[in-house]
């Protein structure tokens, strides 16, 4: 417990978290500080490009590990499974409608890539480098949860549901293509490729991440200010319980897979995090009746800050205890 607190304090005073908090504070104070939409998109392209490439290069540097395939499989299964757990919890803890509950559940099966990046950065800072292929696991966990959510609805309420176009949009959405593509190119060009572009993707990485988290804080804060009213007590609590439930699942499976400490912590983080890009987009198309204020505010306004501040250091500490030494 003492260690967790020390880790948490250390984490809370890192520039990354402080810039996120600055963003939250500026939003609540109604400052007009904003990032241009194009700059925010450019930063997220940069982060996906860098994290994918470094993951791929690291996989070849360390040799391809037997765990790769199993981890991908486990990731896909968890992504598909977690929405059912989330849905059951939501039906018990909240009064959300079937459709809203299913939509929210889908977000929690999927993942938040920035949470993943923040955790990776914290791990690298502590010398706990995770398996490079966790990037691919992150990518594969984006989509299955959406199918589970739509299945939950179609069983009960209909919904305009899935069609071929939507399936293609989900599987080939820009983030997945960029992440997987950079991962593969990192793998193909290996250390030699990494060397060529290291001063672009390694050196300035943390600085860009600070600015990105500042923007996330602004967006999350504005979301909470405007849509916080849609979250009643039960929903609010769900947003902090569910990541822990996910993290425990991730811990168990991560240990069974025999991942390193860093790998287990990342796997916990993936299971604990909730999507706010790919899944909302799919939900707007397939479940337009579900209220985006609920699922976006929950995922971005509650669970994201929770993971960033309390979750990540906890997951790292727990992973160190169970997978370490």
């Amino acid at each position: 417990m003492g260690e967790i607190l020390a880790l948490a304090a250390d984490n809370l005073l890192s520039p990354l978290i402080l810039f996120f908090v600055l963003g939250l504070a500026a939003a609540f104070a109604r400052s007009d500080l904003t990032f241009p939409e194009a700059a925010a998109k450019a930063m997220s392209i940069y982060l996906l490009f860098a994290i994918g490439f470094k993951g791929g290069a690291s996989v070849v540097a360390h040799g391809i590990d037997g765990g790769l395939i199993l981890s991908l499989l486990a990731g896909a299964l968890l992504s598909a499974l977690i929405p059912f757990i989330a849905y059951a919890l939501l039906r018990v803890m909240t009064n959300l409608s079937t459709i809203d509950a299913a939509a929210v559940a889908g977000h929690y099966g999927s993942i938040s890539i920035v949470t993943f990046v923040a955790c990776s950065t914290a791990l690298t800072g502590r010398g706990l480098d995770p398996e490079g292929y966790m990037v691919a696991v992150a990518a594969i966990m984006e989509a299955p949860a959406i199918l589970s959510a739509l299945w939950l609805v179609s069983r009960r309420a209909g919904g305009s549901g899935m069609d071929g176009d939507l399936l293609r949009e989900i599987l080939l959405n820009g983030s997945i293509v960029l992440l997987i593509g950079s991962f593969l190119i990192g793998g193909i060009t290996g250390d030699e490729g990494l060397e060529k572009i290291a001063s672009f993707i390694v050196a300035p990485f943390q600085g860009v991440l600070c600015l990105f988290l500042l923007d996330m804080g602004l967006v999350a804060g504005r979301g909470l200010r405007e849509s916080g009213k849609y979250l009643n007590r039960g929903v609010f609590i769900f947003g902090m319980i569910m990541p822990l439930v996910g993290a425990i699942l991730g811990l168990v499976i991560g240990l069974l897979l025999g991942l390193s400490v860093g790998g287990v912590a990342l796997f916990m983080t993936l299971c604990a995090s909730a999507s706010y890009i790919a899944v909302p987009a799919a939900m707007r198309v397939a479940l337009p009746e579900a209220n985006p204020s609920i699922y976006l505010t929950l995922s971005l306004g509650i669970t994201f800050p929770f993971n960033l501040t309390i979750g990540i250091p906890t997951y790292i500490a727990v992973a160190s205890i169970f997978a370490g030494g």
Binding site: T34, F35, P36, E37, A40, S160, D165, N173, G174, D215, M216, L218, V219, R222, G223, E226, S227, Y276, I277, A278, P280, A281, A282, M283, R284, V285, P288, E289, N291, P292, S293, L296, L300
Partner: protein, 103 residues
């Protein structure tokens, strides 16, 4: 100059639905349209602004079609299929156009 009667249909819709809408427009025989960006707005589902979005799901666009009056009904019926369940606003106005052979 010689002008001709036409209808200007403006559909404000979520960006994520844009492709689906324009596919349907093309299916309904619309020969042209333009897409304008929308920075923000407010309606029954609350206020939003483009700079406060991380999500691809968010943001709206205006799809503008200039059409011959006789095509209006077909177009509206086609459009209605898409906008019915989704948020969005449809307006129709009378306009005059140059070079009517284009529509």
């Amino acid at each position: 100059m010689q002008t001709h009667k036409a209808k200007r249909v403006v559909i404000t819709i979520e960006a994520i639905m844009q492709k689906r809408l324009t596919d349907i427009l093309e299916g309904a025989g619309v020969t042209g349209y333009s897409i304008l960006p929308v920075l923000g707005g407010s309606g029954r589902s609350g206020a939003w602004s483009r700079e406060g979005q991380v999500s691809r799901a968010s943001g709206m666009v205006q799809v503008i079609c200039i059409i011959k009056p006789e095509r209006l009904d077909g177009l509206l019926e086609a459009v209605f299929k898409v906008v019915d369940k989704h948020i969005g606003v449809v307006t129709i106005a009378d306009v005059e156009v140059l070079r009517a052979e284009r529509f």
